[in-house]
């Protein structure tokens, strides 16, 4: 088995915090949730970077799916229709779904 040792480089940073935020953070360290204040900051930054990464992935996924749907729908019957024809077709679908979902309760004039 080969053991790989990873050396992490560290950078010392001075930060300025509002007193209230500092006091609340210190309380978390005192409760034992973090081994020290640096540990708390490192953990918070990792969490923030993870969320940012997930948010960016979501955005990329949206664009990818829109592009794929657009490429696929380009050659369909729907793409050959005019705007007015599509609106008319959507109206018909809307009414049909209305009848299915609400028709028994509501009679539309």
């Amino acid at each position: 088995m080969r053991i790989q040792v990873i050396f992490m480089e560290f950078k010392k940073v001075n930060i300025t915090l509002p007193m209230q935020l500092f006091e609340k953070s210190k309380h978390l360290v005192e409760q034992g949730l973090y081994s020290n204040f640096s540990d708390l900051i490192r953990s918070s930054l990792r969490k923030e970077l993870k969320e940012e990464h997930q948010s960016l992935s979501k955005e990329d996924e949206w664009k990818r799916l829109v592009n794929e749907l657009r490429a696929g729908l380009k050659n369909t019957e729907l793409a050959k229709m005019s705007k007015a024809e599509i609106l008319k077709r959507l109206r018909k679908t809307r009414e049909e779904i209305y009848d299915e979902e609400y028709g028994q309760v509501h009679s539309h004039s």
Partner: protein, 143 residues
């Protein structure tokens, strides 16, 4: 920094259909850029709207559309509309089914309903939310 209360925005079925076909300038631009606008707006979609889109695109693309809806940019509400709310919008003289969309916008406290439907754009008089076309939204709100 996390943002606070974002405006809730509904896209009508026609915006998705035109947007995904890509042949109408503003709906195409809006749909493609929704992932950028979602930092400032909360987009919602209703059961009725999803069913209408699914009913108009070929079967081969229905799963992909569902993946799009579930990709995290839009929040999907699968619950039917409450009868009282539906009756309220029926009295506005909306066409069959348009009342369901307007009632949904009301239900989720939307501030904007985006639609190319002229009955909505000209006919719906409510102070609960604004009805804008994709062009109006892009030029006036999301600029």
């Amino acid at each position: 920094m996390k943002s606070t209360a974002k405006s809730i925005v509904i896209l009508d079925t026609n915006e998705f259909v035109f947007g995904l076909l890509g042949n109408q300038k503003y709906p195409a631009l809006l749909t493609r850029s929704l992932n950028e606008f979602h930092q400032n707006f909360n987009f919602r979609v209703s059961r009725q709207i999803v069913k209408e889109v699914l009913g108009n695109i070929p079967k081969d693309y229905q799963k992909k559309f569902f993946d799009l809806i579930n990709s995290g940019i839009i929040k999907y509400d699968d619950k039917p509309i409450d009868n009282n709310l539906l009756v309220k919008y029926q009295t506005y003289g909306l066409k069959k089914g348009d009342d369901v969309i307007a009632a949904f916008a009301d239900k989720v406290n939307a501030t904007i309903l985006i639609s190319e439907n002229r009955h909505f754009l000209k006919g719906l008089k409510t102070k609960r939310f604004k009805v804008l076309s994709a062009e109006q939204f892009l030029k006036e709100v999301a600029k």
